[in-house]
Amino acid sequence: MESFFAIGLIIGKLAVVIAILLVLPIPLTWIERKIAGHIQQRLGPMRVGWHGLLQPLADGIKLLTKEDHIPTEADRFLFTLAPIIALVPPFLVFVAIPIGDSVTIFGTEITLYLADMNVGLLYILAVAGIEVYGVIFAGWASNSKYAVLGSLRTCAQMISYEIPMGFSVIGVVMLAHSMSLLDIVEAQAGLWNVVYQPLGFFVFFVAGLAEAQRIPFDLPEAEGDLCAGYHTEYSGIRFSFFMISEYLIVVFLSALIVLLFFGGWHGILIPLPPVVWFLLKLSFFIWVFMWLRFTFPRYRYDQLMSIGWKVLLPLSLANILISGIFML
């Protein structure tokens, strides 16, 4: 009976997480377009529903009813596989992301995470890396020069940014003596890691922007020079898979920044429920990502590479060194 209940609870939580993640891109696209509009002194979507609130639904219907086209020259198997590979890792990552400690509802204690792995951080970085395969396969399978160029850029970008990203979190791991995200958050109960690790946060943030392929590092899908990059040949539902995956990666990176550097669900000054604190910080960072997107132009490709290897990598190594010296 006990174990039956526990399994039911896990399945229930899984269902809730998957449902939320599937629905999340809908409000996010609306918010992104509103932010874009207001930064450019426009109103953004206004005509479908109140202040354009139903616009994402209309877009969704449009995407679903569009022709799902596969180019004749494409590798059909990889072409259909790629969007799925791109979509699954962001979902897998959220297994290890806690949004709070635990809450007690009706006398039962419910933990607000699916799994507390002792290698949580490693798992997250590893699984998030798989998403790149979706992008590479998409570009390769499309058999179109723009798509291939886009995915080649993705490869190079990923290699140069995974490394500083991985190094930049080592400082955090050293402080918490653990790779479990719960322990990392608990270690920040007093003071947030961003105070100890400003350099680590900076490197992680910039590398995260590049990971998410957001402006100013959105070279793989630069509209101006590559049509749309790796998803040039995709349409309809398959294209929307890439879209969903992109938005989820933004959410996941914001969540990771909050967990690693901004104290997770620990609040300051104002006593709010921990989950509310976490969601507030999460939405703040999502907003920052969008704000950056509509402020900066894109970096040139060689600049992108030199920032990765010549600035971020030494900085992240220096960060490890400095943290080590202070820990001694």
Binding site: G37, H38, Q41, W291
Partner: protein
């Protein structure tokens, strides 16, 4: 020399701390919370054109309600698109007026030459600008319709409250007292 070094040093400090990036971010942040300048046409607002605007033609009429036009056909001659057809006739008072006066708006390029050429100050290009149609035949406008068209505006250059109505055709009609607001009011100019 000192000033040059100081400038160089401050430039390096700015580079190291991404001051120019922060500058850009603060600018977009201020824009994000400033008023938008979107003109919500056709839902809520409508642009009233300036007096110089060249819209739909109209024929001016005199005190007796007859048209000023004396059917001299000068406008028809000068029109680069050959879109004005004038057939003169003599009415019961012995005055010369057009029997037929048709403008094919589908061919007109709204150059305003007809307005300049008219010796009787009869034809002019007015304020009306919403007359697209699915059928090019309805774009051929006759004399009486031209006489009923709205003329030029006195002030113009403003945005007034309006409403989109799809009951009879599609029209955007101004609501309220017609007091407009300057569209440029929220635009920063340096």
């Amino acid at each position: 020399m000192v000033a040059k070094v100081a400038r160089k040093v401050s430039g390096w400090i700015g580079w190291a701390f991404f001051l120019d990036l922060l500058d850009g971010l603060s600018l977009t942040l201020s824009y994000m919370f400033s008023k938008t300048i979107t003109e919500r046409y056709p839902d809520d607002e409508k642009w009233i054109p300036f007096p110089r605007y060249r819209g739909h033609h109209f024929l001016k009429s005199n005190a007796e309600g007859k048209t000023n036009c004396v059917a001299c056909e000068l406008c028809s001659r000068i029109c680069p698109c050959r879109c004005i057809t004038v057939v003169p006739h003599e009415d019961e008072d012995g005055e010369r007026h057009p029997q037929v006066f048709e403008i094919d708006l589908g061919r007109c390029l709204f150059c305003g030459l007809c307005e300049d050429a008219c010796p009787a100050d009869a034809i002019a290009l007015g304020r009306h600008y919403e007359f697209c149609d699915h059928d090019s035949k309805t774009l051929v406008v006759g004399r009486d319709a031209l006489m009923a068209m709205p003329g030029k505006v006195e002030r113009g250059g403003e945005v007034v409250a309006a409403r989109l109505s799809t009951e009879v055709g599609v029209t955007v009609t101004a609501t309220g007292d017609g007091e407009g607001v300057d569209w440029w009011r929220h635009i920063r100019r340096r």
